[in-house]
């Protein structure tokens, strides 16, 4: 981490109609870091992102974004932040070039025409610049949105599920671009549901039910879960999954195709629970480090038990 954190907020709270959506949220993100924001639907990711860029006012708590107070200096923050909404929110009835031109004017960019032309060039959309944004496919809309929200060279990018509904190739391109931006010193906070994307982040934050449950690098989070996991392969794992479900020591059972992931917090108890089945024909038992997904499913389950 070099210098002061770009995002530094603490004890943020937000309720809608009496329902706590974000609870005592605190996070610090350093410059040039890509921070993945994970958590089930409705866990408060979008609300948190909106509070960071001044679209929502927290009920309590506060902090800084780019060294500016999120409560009082929202206008100044907006000028240095690029925010990409979950849903495509540029003008579908404007052409690609017109959308970029609009953004350039709003931010009062110097050499506007040149900047828009360069952005179109980088996008590879120069020849289609007159096409209406509404006519673009999901992947292209996403590229246009990213180009538009980085046009003013923001220092912080807030991306709210930018790759939802985008094909794997476009997602890969997108992430390559995010890493290039981070190398240039831009800080990125990106929410996602994809595990492979989480693993491409420098660090992750896991939210559930409005609470921050885990924080750190992927390795930190996995290690911090204290989870023991076994991988079981072979025929009949589906049946085994049903049997194991209720055994003491087994917290989670998840089936991935022909592989069963069984995890629990107490390694000895878990081993004991599995011991009875190890004799079964054709089944191969192997202790393994838990995957991020195991950890998340575990965290989500724990959170559900605690809060519901």
């Amino acid at each position: 981490m070099t210098g002061a954190p770009v995002i530094d907020v603490h004890s943020l709270n937000k309720s809608f109609d009496g329902r706590r959506v974000v609870e005592d949220f605190a996070i610090q993100v350093g410059r040039g870091r890509i921070c993945g924001f994970l958590g089930p639907n409705g866990s408060g990711k979008t609300t948190t992102i909106r509070m960071l860029c001044g679209l929502l006012t927290p009920d309590s708590g506060g902090g800084t974004c780019l060294g500016l107070d999120i409560l009082r200096e929202g206008a100044a923050i907006k000028r240095q932040v690029g925010y990409m909404t979950q849903r495509f929110s540029f003008y579908e009835d404007l052409s690609i070039a017109e959308n970029l031109d609009f953004v350039a004017r709003v931010y009062g960019l110097p050499r506007r025409r040149q900047q828009v032309a360069q952005a179109l060039d980088r996008l590879g959309l120069t020849r289609r610049s007159r096409q209406l944004a509404g006519a673009l496919s999901g992947g292209w809309k996403q590229r246009l949105a990213l180009a538009a929200c980085t046009l003013h060279e923001p220092k912080l990018l807030l991306l709210d599920e930018p790759t939802a509904g985008v094909d794997p190739v476009a997602r890969r391109d997108f992430w390559d671009q995010i890493h290039r931006l981070a190398e240039d010193g831009i800080t990125v906070l990106v929410s996602t549901h994809y595990m492979d994307e989480a693993e491409r982040c420098h660090e992750i934050a896991y939210l559930a039910y409005g609470k921050l449950l885990a924080r750190g690098t992927v390795a930190d989070v996995i290690a911090g879960s204290g989870l023991a996991t076994w991988r079981i392969t072979g025929p009949g794992v589906a049946a085994l999954a049903r049997t194991l479900h209720s055994r003491p020591g087994v917290d989670r059972v998840a089936l991935f195709g022909q592989t069963l992931h069984v995890s629990g917090q107490d390694p000895d108890l878990l081993a004991a629970a599995l011991a009875d089945h190890r004799a079964s024909d054709g089944l191969h038992f192997q202790p393994a480090p838990p995957t991020l997904e195991d950890v998340f499913i575990h965290l989500m389950g724990e959170a559900r038990d605690n809060f519901s």
Partner: protein, 381 residues
């Protein structure tokens, strides 16, 4: 009900009906409009609208008091149509009172009227009418005929008895000012300008902003460094231009198709048009900060448009309405704009006559703009 499997199913119809009612109930605004619009219509049509306006404000200039003059005024008032609101000493003030819409009629009883009646000279009684809206003055002027015949009967006794009809003791001469032929188009066509500007102005802006919210582009806009007043100006200015195009179209039609006279200054009119359009657009902008979707924005526009149409004096004579309805009408920009546009085109009104109707629109604009800017949220809260 038994029947073919794919026939009309009561359960499925019921499912649809129940769903539809639930959605109707959830959409509070639409529900309020469903109830509100008929209630408003009934109240406005039923109580406020009166196509036979009475007690019309009348200026009276009596050059020489006499019994005849007094009885004549009583007779005028007894028709129910005339109500003397101004006693004018200087007849030169009469044109101002008519032009600035303060009176509908001006009655002048000339010097020597009484003597002339007594001598059987059948003097002239001058009644000037603001005839821009023929509907507002028609019945009153028709009632005048009777007056000449009967107003002075009580006074013409004894030796003057012979002056009783026919012919009447004096002659009533009516000057229908501004619209001598009583051409309805002269009144309606300029009025339509205001109606068109109200309808399109309010609706277009209300939809323009609501559309941003409905399509999700508002979130993006809010995340960018655009100030509310900039959004408002950006939304309003293009429609002011649209409004001017509409004004030009109406003026061209008025001139070439309907031969509506255009006596006053078009420059002055364009100033009035500017403030009026801005006021309507501000209303639309305010609605858009309240409406959840484009349909609601549309309904709210109608909610505003309806009283504007009915209570402004466009469709029905303003002075025929009860006081409460006139009070609502006075608060609506269209009411004042109609007076401005008719005044400038038909009466040739200048700044002095227009000002009393210009400032209420300006005030309306300021108040609505403040409301709009207060309601426009910089956040999504």
């Amino acid at each position: 009900m038994t029947g073919p499997r794919d026939g009309l199913s009561r359960a499925r119809c019921l499912a649809m009906i129940i769903k539809e009612f639930i959605q109707m109930r959830r959409d509070r605004m639409t529900f309020a409009m469903m109830i509100g619009i008929p209630v408003m219509q009934v109240l406005l049509f039923g109580f406020a609208i009166n196509t036979d306006p009475k007690h019309l404000p009348t200026a009276l200039h009596v050059a020489e008091p006499s019994v005849f003059a007094r009885d004549l005024v009583t007779a005028l008032e007894n028709t129910g149509y005339f109500q003397v609101t101004r006693h004018v000493d200087d007849p030169a003030r009469i044109p101002w009172l008519l032009a600035s819409n303060q009176v509908q009629f001006a009655v002048t009883i000339p010097v020597g009227f009484a003597r002339a009646v007594q001598r059987g000279e059948h003097p002239v009684l001058l009644i000037e009418a603001d005839a821009t809206d023929p509907a507002a003055t028609g019945n009153a002027l028709a009632a005048l005929d009777q007056i000449a015949h009967t107003a002075l009967d009580r006074d013409l006794s004894g030796p003057l008895r012979s002056l009783r009809q026919p012919p009447p003791a004096f002659e009533v001469r009516v000057h229908r000012r501004y619209n001598p032929d009583g051409i309805t188009q002269y009144n309606i066509v300029p009025g339509l300008m205001g109606v068109i500007l109200t309808m399109t102005g309010v609706m277009l802006t209300a939809l323009a902003v609501t559309r941003e919210r409905e399509r999700g582009t508002m979130e993006n806009l809010l995340a960018m460094p655009v100030r509310p007043v900039e959004v408002m100006i950006g939304k309003i200015l293009p429609y002011i231009a649209v409004g001017y195009v509409q004004v030009i179209l109406v003026l061209l039609a008025a001139h070439f198709l309907f031969q509506v006279p255009m006596i006053g200054s078009l420059a002055l009119l364009s100033v009035g048009v500017l403030i009026f359009i801005a006021a309507n657009l501000a209303v639309g902008f305010t609605f858009s900060t309240v409406a959840g979707n484009q349909l609601q924005a549309m309904q709210m526009s109608f909610f505003f448009f309806l009283p504007s149409l009915l209570l402004s004096g466009f469709m029905f004579p303003f002075r025929g309405m009860p006081d409460w309805a006139q009070a609502i009408g006075e608060a609506l920009p269209l009411t004042h704009f109609l007076r401005i546009v008719r005044g400038i085109l038909l009466k040739g009104n200048g700044v002095a006559e227009v000002a009393p109707d210009l400032w209420p629109i300006a005030l309306f604009l300021v108040v609505i703009t403040i409301i709009a800017l207060n309601r426009y949220r910089l956040t999504l809260d």
